[in-house]
Amino acid sequence: MAEPLLRVDNLVRRFGGIIATDHVCLDVSKGEIHAIIGPNGAGKTTLISQLTGHLAPHAGRIFLGGRDISSFPAYKRSALGLARSFQITSLLTDFTAADNAALAAQAHDGRHSFRFFANARKEKPLRDAARAALERVGLGHRADVLVSKLSHGEQRELELAVALATKPQLLLLDEPMAGLGVTESQRMVKLLAELRNEVSIVLVEHDMEAVFALADRISVLVYGRIIASGKPDEIRQNEEVKRAYLGDQHVVVGHG
């Protein structure tokens, strides 16, 4: 088998006495949507933060396209094509939607940002890239609105647009559906399904309907450990998963 796009090898992270990430191994192939599910407090966001470089693991390695990125800071991982969306919306609230996306494009257009004089808002390539990313998520008409004036659903979409504007190979989405209404969720699922051909996705999500609709493979994280990993059908059938997670929630499919 070819080297997977993302390979996580025995990752460990502790907080005091608690092991939040317990020897996690994970493969994500190119073009795949790989969902990570698990009950609250299973360590999903902790895992994502280690993948993006916002949190240092205590042991283990992370490879992106075969390259060991374990010690790289967040910005370097971004440069290599790793993008994330935040669980709690984390945007530049005093900027417009277009500015948010344009900054993401600016970080990745191959030219450094130690340019002090030219008006960056007049750089057409950046604005075009930003607009394209916004259009992609259906926010084209809201480009010049301040982030603080956007609705929650729009902010979730903008999170995705900002990630897309970095032209990523791999998207790490931390609960993109969080707090969305039914129609908004459906829009997001449709959007992610469309993206499947362009970019690989690691999807952390509580919305089981979305997960089973989208994922090529699913890994189940419980108390920091991956207890099962496989195709959606395999996960549905897995006794341990049922016991540890799905069983006590009574929701597998049909969750609103």
Partner: protein, 315 residues
């Protein structure tokens, strides 16, 4: 930016117009004192503008900005005493040493955040203060008299009051224009993004620290320039210009005028220093009024003068 004729822009324009016309008024009325006062105001406004670059746009609360006033001043004073009178050399040294100091201080200080950043910048400025106090050859505690103002040759004569005023004003307006360009540039957007959400900026691929450091150095150089001008204005430089209360004054000017606004620090400096002057003429105990006034401004006037004017416009 859409064109907007709002109250704060009008006030900013009036302040600039007033500053430009001030020597005319001074000449007509024979009031030389006001020209001297405003020369000082313009110079300190320049340092407030530079502080606003790190504080207002970069979100870095430096409590040691007056150190650069001293560095710039001592560059002029020491070189003058050692027989190097050329303004070009003096100002170049003032700016270069400020840059170097900012680079070292910034690299160390930016490891900390929040209040610790405020305190470590303060600590370094106090160190600079004590270094200057220990320079026996250059007056130590008592300071150093600059017997001859910087010599730029040609028609430029800093000894001429009006000419010197306009030179300072030119520097101020040039620096404001520079900051305006920076704020809207790639660099400026990154900087403001970092102020807003540093983690997000790292996640989309910006190495945050080097941008902050660059900003810190630019602001230091600009304030070093202001220090060199100040030494020429007072014909004197002493450790007192670096004392922490002076850094506090600068912060007050920036916040009073409106942090993160282009003209806020200029307006703030004019208001603060004029108020200080007027109150001290009204009563010997001017600070008795000034102190509570500051408190009230903080409690009720969020966003400083420019912020209040902005609300006036909207409301």
């Amino acid at each position: 930016m859409k064109s907007q004729l709002n109250v704060s822009s009008v006030v900013a324009a009036l302040v600039v117009a007033g500053l430009v016309l001030l020597p005319v008024y001074s000449n007509l009325t024979g009031n030389i004192f006001i020209l001297t006062l405003f020369t000082r105001i313009v110079i300190l406004a320049l340092s407030a503008v530079s502080l606003n670059l790190i504080m207002g746009y970069g979100g870095m609360m430096s409590f040691g900005h007056a150190a650069y006033l001293g560095i710039g001043g001592y560059a002029v004073g020491i070189l003058a005493q050692e027989g190097i009178g050329s303004g070009w050399a003096q100002f170049a040294v003032a700016i270069a040493v400020s840059a170097l100091y900012a680079l070292v201080i910034g690299a160390l200080s930016l490891r900390t955040r929040g209040v610790y950043f405020i305190m470590i910048t303060l600590a370094f400025a106090q160190m600079a203060y004590y270094v200057a106090s220990g320079l026996a050859r250059y007056g130590g505690d008592d300071g150093l008299t600059v017997y001859k103002r910087s010599d730029f040759g040609g028609p430029i004569n800093l000894g001429n009051r009006v000419q010197f005023y306009y030179l300072c004003l030119f520097c101020l307006l040039a620096v404001v224009a520079l900051v305006w360009r920076i704020v809207n540039s790639r660099f400026g957007l990154v900087l403001q993004g970092l102020r807003s959400n540093e983690q997000r900026m790292q996640a989309i691929g910006f190495p945050s620290k080097r941008y902050k450091l660059a900003c810190f150095v630019i602001a230091g150089m600009l304030c070093g320039l202001s220090g060199a001008l100040l030494a020429n204005n007072t014909d004197f430089v002493s450790p007192a210009v670096m004392y922490w209360t002076r850094s506090g004054d600068l912060m007050v000017m920036v916040i009073l005028g409106g942090m993160g606004t282009l003209m806020g620090p200029v307006v703030g400096s004019v208001v603060f220093l004029v108020l200080e002057e007027v109150l001290s003429q009204l009563t010997e105990y001017w600070a008795l009024i000034m102190g509570p006034l500051l408190l009230l401004i903080v409690l009720f006037g969020r966003g400083g003068i420019m912020g209040m004017l902005g609300r006036l416009n909207r409301g």
